[in-house]
Every structure is written in structure tokens, then in C-alpha cells.
Amino acid sequence: MPQLTYLEAIRQGIWEEMERDPTVFCLGEDIGIYGGAFKVTDGFIDRFGPERVIDTPIAESAIVGAAFGASLTGMRPVVEFQFMDFIGCAFNQIVNMVAKAHYRWGAPAPLVIRGPSGGNVHGGPFHSQNPEMWFVHAPGLKVVCPASAYDAKGLIKAAIRDNNPVIFFEHKYLYRRTKEEVPAEDYIVPLGKARIAREGRDLSIITYAAMVHTALEAAETLSREGIDLEIVDLRTLAPLDREAIVATLRKTGKVIILHEHARTGGLAGEIAAIINEDAFNHLDGPIVRIAAQDSPVPFSPPQEEYFLPQVSDVLREARRLRAY
């Protein structure tokens, strides 16, 4: 089985879908001859032509609007955002036009909006954000955040085949840092299903994307101290896999929710509420949140390190929670 990076896996997934289904096409800024700012669509224009790999003006609302319009005719557009930070420009199209279309007037919108998000690459306030919660709160959208190369390929293929608008957040820190064996053949990873990234019995960490790797690193250290972490990788934030959240809590009774986006109004609050509603009796300690501080993402490396959750934060909180 070939070893692929997270980025290569996404590239292969989109490529395979375009080979398989002539209704799939890509549009975005600099995705053609240049191959995209991060080269995800490198070589696509030579294979599929400028008709299906469309370089657009710098006009995010137009890109999303056009993708939606094309989807109304039965096409499956894949939109690239150069950085997910720029998704704010298209916010109205996404939440008011696209997300509500099926509920309001029965118009499915089988489109994917994908692009790099996330920090730890010293990109500053406009190239490091994790804007996923803006869309988790907009009913009608699916929100996907893969953590591994295998999942990235399987999830992008599932997203393209889904009949709903999917916002696909690719963590840019993982693009070339994670590498694993990825099957060359066709497979999908279903949307809306979490996975157990590490089996454990003492304490659960619920997280996703780059923070899965932070949790895994912490788990190695903690295992030497006799603390056995279970790590749940959510993979999809909307719809959320409630069953997986409840199942891990039933097993360990203790939970840390770890995410890279700001603490207030973050996903941890929602998961805490789900646990409260569905699994309160299984709790054997306080629900712990580890999240970024409530501020924009700072630029300077020491500041960004302070801003982002670190392995040391997980170690500290896990030890504290274990004591209950």
C-alpha cells in the first residue's frame, strides 16, 4: 500500500471522483495551471481541462453562488478556498442561500467547499483560523474535519458524493506532516461517524483534526504513568456522532474535550451538553475543556504557542482529572 501525505490523500480522492463522475468539477482561485496555493489540485487542469478546473476571479461569494447554481442543474462542484479564513466573504451565500435551500424549497445542494484551516504554522490572524463552528451552528450544512490521510481521502470522496453542502476543513499543519498507508483503490469514510483513534480505559479525550495528534502524543507519555487514554476523533462536526460521545463516556466516565478553536461558544460546550443530556449518570468527574483562548490567532511563534492547546495542557488536565 502506498504511503501518502494528508494532502496527497485529498488530492487523490478528488482526482478519483473526477475520473469516476463527469458531474464533478472544481472551481476556485489559482487552482488551474498553478495547482492551488498548497498544490492540492496540481496537474488537474492537464487531465480534466479548463472546463472542469476553473480559475475564478477573487470573489468568494460568486464562487459559492456559482457552485450552488451549478449544483441545481445536477452538477457536483468542489470549491477551493485558498484559506478557510476567507470563507467570511462568502458567509451569506453559504448560510442563507445554500444551507437553507433544501429546508425552504426542497433544493438539494450537492457541493463541497474545501480548503486549509488551522494554526501552528505562524500564519497570523488571517491564515490560521478554525472557523468550523460558524457553520456547525447553521443547520443544513455538513462540517468535516479529518485528522489522518486515510480519513482525508475517504471523507473527501464521501463529501463529494453527499447530496448536501459539505464544508471540508483541511488542517494545513497536517498537509505534509502526516503520512500513512492509503489504499489506492476506491473507498469512502462515511460522514457523521467518529472513530476511536486510540483505545483506552481510564479517560477519554474527544477531539478532531490536528488536536488528535496532540492527544496521541500526550497519551504516549501518560501510558508510561499508567494512565490509559481513549481518544475519539470526531471526523465530522455536523452532524455530530452523539453515540460515539456517549459510548466513550460510558467506558471511561471521564472526559476531556480538546479543540483548537476559541473556548467560548466552542464545540466543547455542545459536547458537554450532550453528555449532560445523554450520559450524566456515567460521569465520574468534571467535564474538562481544553481550547484556544478567546482571541484572534496571534502571529509570533511564542504567542501562537501560548494561544494553542499544547501536549503539556493535556498532560496536566489528564493527571488532574485522573485524581477524581
Binding site: D42, G43, A59, G65, T73, M75, H102, G106
Partner: protein
């Protein structure tokens, strides 16, 4: 595929040559905006302070006589009469809605296209059945032409279970991707432009150049997405037919406070597309411009901007008495009522309708509206639980398939994607 780029460049050159002519001996380029109107009123509206109170004052010649209808280059007698009937249905349906509102049967407000019926009906009439349209709030006439019935629209306003959105949205906020090819608008303005452009893009990928039509007002055209959408259509040569309905008032703000160009059609120059001005109260002018723009679209020559000038003859919605509009302006435009003018054209100028035929036609419209009103009023409200479900398309509720044809995928010889290292500093 290999010849795609030279062809594009050639097309671009031709377009530029067609639109700009260099005056001999100068570096100044000249552009033309055809203006089909038979009168060109010069009226300005501005804010003035009098006795401590700020109000709008109108200046200009308001005494001009009403021009005749400009004879259509394309419409037959039968088509003219059909458009006239749509306009009547449009207006009388809105009168019925006003009455339903006064009877307390409408949920929310009522929006009117009074004075704009020619623009809605004659424009949508130029589209083929398998082409697409996205209406704004004042284009209820356009949705009638596309095949929605007055009862559909009445049920929308009354939030009935049988409304096109099954009670889930109001007013003109409905659509149909299956039979009528209408995109449901949202309340924010300009957002339909890129969507309709995208519809044309989808069709082109399926081997068809189609015309897609939408509308924007003198107010709505101020939004950024209006620019984005029209520019996208221009760059991609997509067959977007944009009606800029300059009805002089954006809610309570006059057009003179929205833009500095003399005519909004001039905006077309900056997009590199044709712009045309028509009298929005003249159904023949509206149709002819729409037809020519649709034909361009079908030839794959890209978008057209048509500015239709008229006045919104009511407030923004039923709650708004439009007291801010200077009275003489109402009087001026009332004389230019699109239906009265078209009726006069058909009865007295062309003699295509006898007074008896006209009475019968009007009676037929009244009858249809009465039946639709009774049906809509008697139809049930939705069950509360019907608010649930349908957020996602799931369990096979819709089959996604190409509307026109399976796209022909032309593939290059490269068998696998590239693997270039990203040239970005974020690693």
C-alpha cells in the same frame, strides 16, 4: 481541449472590438449604451430642508406627454395579448393579496410590483421553458409566467400547508428545480446573480448554452455580490440576463442617493458586457431587449445588463404608505401605467383586441383569481410538526442527476496528479 485557449482569446478580441471604438486621432475610447426609450425624462430627487423639516424634492419636467408604445421587432399579436394577460393577472393578483391582507388572512407583509408589471412579465416571457429565472420580491409576475399559479403565491402569503414551500418561507421566496426552473430568492440582495450564473455554468458543462435571468433594483445593485456575480458571468461568458429595475426608490432611499452614474446601464461598460436602457413601463421594449439578450446568451456570448426605468408605485411593502415620495412624481408615473399603455396599444393603436374581447379577457382573469383565492383561503395551515425534517437531503428524497445531459468529460493524457511542493511560506 488544446484549442480552447486560442478560441477564448479570439472571442475576447471580437468582443472588445465590438464594444469600444477608438475615435480617430485621439486616445479616448467611446462606448455606446443603446437607449430604446421614446422619452428621456430628466428628473432629480434630492433632500431639502424647509422650515426645519427634511424631505425629498423633485425637480425636472413633469408635464411631458406620455409617449406611445414602441412597436416590437419580434412579438406577434398573439404573444402581445398573452403578455398583456400576464400583466393583468400580476396586478389583479396583488390587489387580491392586498384585500386578503386587509381581511387579516395574510401572515406578514405583502409586496407589490405595481407599475413594474411590464418589466416582470415581458422579461420572463422571453425565456424558454427549459431556461432559468430567479425573481426578486417585485417579480411575482415573472413567477406566474414561469408557471406558478396565483393560488401558489396566495398560499405562500397565507403560510398554508399547500404553498410551494409548505409554509416554510414567505412571499416570493419559492422555487422549483424540477419543472419551472425557478431559483428561490433570499432576502439579501444580489445573491441571485452568481447563482443564476452558476446555473448557466452547469448547463454549459452539460453541453448547453442557456439564458438565465434575474433582477436587481437600483438599491440592490449597490451590494458587493452584485458586482461579483455579474463579473463572474462576464469572465466566464455565461448567459446571464440581468434586469436592473431602476424603480427610483430603495425602500425610502431615492436612486440619486445610491449611485453617481447617470444611468445604471453604464455599469455594463465596466464589466465588459453590453448594456441597454429600456422604458420599464413599455412591455414591447422590455421584451425586445430581453429577447436579444437571451439570444446572445444562447449563442454563448455571455451576459447582458438591461436597465429598465420606471417607478415603484407603492411603498416598500404594504405597511409603508410611501409618504416620502413627492406627490407630483406619482402623478407623472401614473400617466405611464404599463397596463393602461399596453391596453391602449392593443385596443386603439393596433386594434388587436376589441373592447368586447378585452372585457372577456379581464373577466377571465377575475374568474381565475376568484377561484384561486377561494382555494387558497380554504386550504389548511400546516401541522406544527411539519416544521421538522428536511434540513438535509437524505434517505433518497432527491435523485441528483444532470438536468440537460451527462457532461462529456474530455481527458488529457496525464494519468495521475502532480506532486509539486507548495510554494507557500506556511509549512
Amino acid at each position: 481541449m488544446d484549442d480552447a485557449e486560442p478560441q477564448m482569446a479570439k472571442k475576447q478580441k471580437e468582443r472588445l472590438a465590438a464594444k469600444s471604438a477608438q475615435a480617430p486621432g485621439t486616445n479616448q475610447r467611446t462606448y455606446t449604451i443603446p437607449d430604446h426609450r421614446l422619452e428621456k425624462p430628466s428628473i432629480t430627487i434630492r433632500q431639502v430642508r424647509k422650515a426645519g423639516k427634511v424631505s425629498y424634492e423633485v425637480t425636472g419636467d413633469l408635464s411631458a406627454t406620455v409617449p406611445p408604445i414602441r412597436e416590437s421587432r419580434y412579438l406577434s399579436k398573439k404573444q402581445c395579448i398573452e403578455i398583456y394577460r400576464w400583466m393583468l393577472l400580476n396586478r389583479k393578483m396583488e390587489t387580491a393579496l392586498e384585500n386578503l391582507y386587509k381581511q387579516g388572512k395574510v401572515v406578514g407583509g405583502v409586496y407589490f410590483g405595481l407599475g413594474q408589471e411590464a418589466c416582470s412579465c415581458a422579461s420572463a416571457y422571453a425565456l424558454h421553458k427549459d431556461e432559468w429565472m430567479g425573481p426578486l420580491i417585485r417579480n411575482q409576475g415573472s413567477t406566474l409566467v414561469r408557471g406558478f399559479s396565483p393560488r401558489d403565491i396566495m398560499m405562500q402569503y397565507m403560510a398554508k400547508a399547500g404553498s410551494p414551500t409548505r409554509g416554510r418561507d414567505a412571499s416570493s421566496h419559492f422555487g422549483d428545480i424540477k419543472d419551472r426552473n425557478v431559483v428561490a430568492p433570499i432576502s439579501t440582495l444580489g445573491d441571485l446573480l452568481p447563482v443564476l450564473a452558476g446555473v448557466a455554468l452547469g448547463a454549459r458543462l452539460q453541453g448547453r448554452n442557456i439564458a438565465v435571468m434575474t433582477y436587481i433594483g437600483d438599491g440592490g445593485q449597490s451590494t458587493g455580490v452584485t458586482y461579483e456575480g455579474l463579473n463572474f458571468a462576464a469572465v466566464q461568458d455565461l448567459g446571464l440576463v440581468l434586469f436592473v429595475e431602476n424603480n427610483l426608490w430603495a425602500y425610502s432611499t431615492p436612486a440619486d442617493m445610491q449611485f453617481r452614474v447617470k444611468d445604471l446601464a453604464e455599469r455594463a461598460i465596466s464589466y465588459g458586457i453590453p448594456g441597454v436602457i429600456v422604458d420599464g413601463t413599455d412591455a414591447c421594449q422590455v421584451y425586445d431587449a430581453a429577447h436579444e439578450a437571451c439570444e446572445r446568451a444562447r449563442r454563448g456570448q455571455g451576459p447582458t445588463l438591461i436597465e429598465a426605468k420606471m417607478m415603484r408605485m407603492k411603498g416598500h411593502a404594504i405597511h409603508d404608505a410611501a409618504d416620502y415620495v413627492p406627490k407630483p412624481l406619482f402623478e407623472y408615473w401614473r400617466k405611464r401605467d404599463p397596463i393602461a399603455r399596453f391596453e391602449n396599444f392593443l385596443l386603439n393603436v393596433k386594434k388587436w383586441l376589441t373592447p368586447t374581447e378585452n372585457r372577456e379577457l379581464i373577466a377571465g382573469v377575475d374568474q381565475q383569481l376568484e377561484a384561486d383565492r377561494d382555494f387558497a383561503v380554504a386550504s389548511p395551515m400546516p401541522e406544527p410538526e411539519s416544521a421538522a425534517g428536511g434540513v438535509y437531503c437524505e434517505h433518497g428524497c432527491h435523485e441528483i442527476k444532470p438536468k440537460y445531459a451527462i457532461p462529456k468529460a474530455r481527458k488529457g493524457s496525464v494519468a495521475s496528479p502532480g506532486g509539486t511542493e507548495a510554494a507557500v511560506h506556511l509549512k
